[in-house]
Symmetry: C2
Subunit: 138 residues, 2 copies
DNA sequence: ATACAACCTAAACCTAACTCCATGTCAATA
DNA sequence: TATTGACATGGAGTTAGGTTTAGGTTGTAT
């Protein structure tokens, strides 16, 4: 069992964020001591890991909450949950592809500026033509 | 030459966003007609593509603006621009790795719910158990 | 017993990136 | 000439996801 401060240090999530998640209903099963202090256990940690995963994949907090509610309802929501993850799979793959595209452009820019640095100028024949922004972005 | 509406349709960027970018100084070289109507050309389109790329890689608009200002200053800012792209390269690679991690978990869940659907049940006692990775990874 | 650090809540505040609104101008068509 | 639709502006409003503040409570080390 962990206090909120221990969880914060362990998962590198600000205390204020943990309390915010709780308030928003994303941690519906966090226990409390008799003195009203939150006590997190290992399943709460897994819950937070899942929040992190779904947040990374682009899901909003309200939709993560919805997913947790489906879990609580039980087997009659299996279809919705399956559909949700299929959707997130697609969205995440698209997001990775988009980032890979951006990375390719950025890698080109790294090389461009490496050469520009050597020459002391961006005015390098051959590269300039290839540049997206001929006049402004050198 | 294109009007703001044509650019909006072409690049799938809302008109309000284009005007917002202009107001924020991200499109410093957009020409106007005598009647004050914006006229975009091909270099403005490239400029917007670069904004999209850098936004995807996680750069904020104010830093994109900074980059454009460095471009306008000239060769004395080559180092800053080089450093910026090296940094974005690192950030983007990290972001891709993080998304790939999330995708792996999501793929597990897809499989988990595919099987649950077949059986008609998730076969786990409660929410916390369902969320826990120990039930996810056999 | 008394510090004092860590916990609690409600509510105000914050930031980025838009988005909408009211009001007015421009340009092509009937 | 009059209508109409796309354009313009400044400024207010929105949304998501927190963060901070004020004021109070709990738990532990001396």
């Amino acid at each position: 069992m962990y206090t909120i401060g221990e969880i914060s240090a362990l998962l590198h999530i600000p205390i204020s964020t943990l309390r915010y998640y709780d308030k928003e209903g994303l941690l519906p099963l966090v226990n409390r001591t008799e003195g009203n202090i939150r006590l997190f256990d290992d399943t709460d940690i897994e819950c937070l890991n899942m929040i992190e995963c779904l947040k990374t994949s682009g899901l909003q907090l309200k939709d993560i909450k919805q997913f947790f509610q489906w879990c609580e309802i039980g087997d009659e929501t299996i279809d919705q949950r399956h559909e949700l993850f299929l959707q997130q799979k697609k969205k995440t793959e698209e997001q990775i592809a988009k980032l890979q595209d951006a990375l390719n452009r950025i890698n080109y820019k790294c090389e461009y500026y490496r050469i520009a640095k050597e020459k002391g100028s961006t005015d390098v024949p051959g590269l300039k033509e290839e540049l997206s922004m001929k006049y402004l972005i050198k």
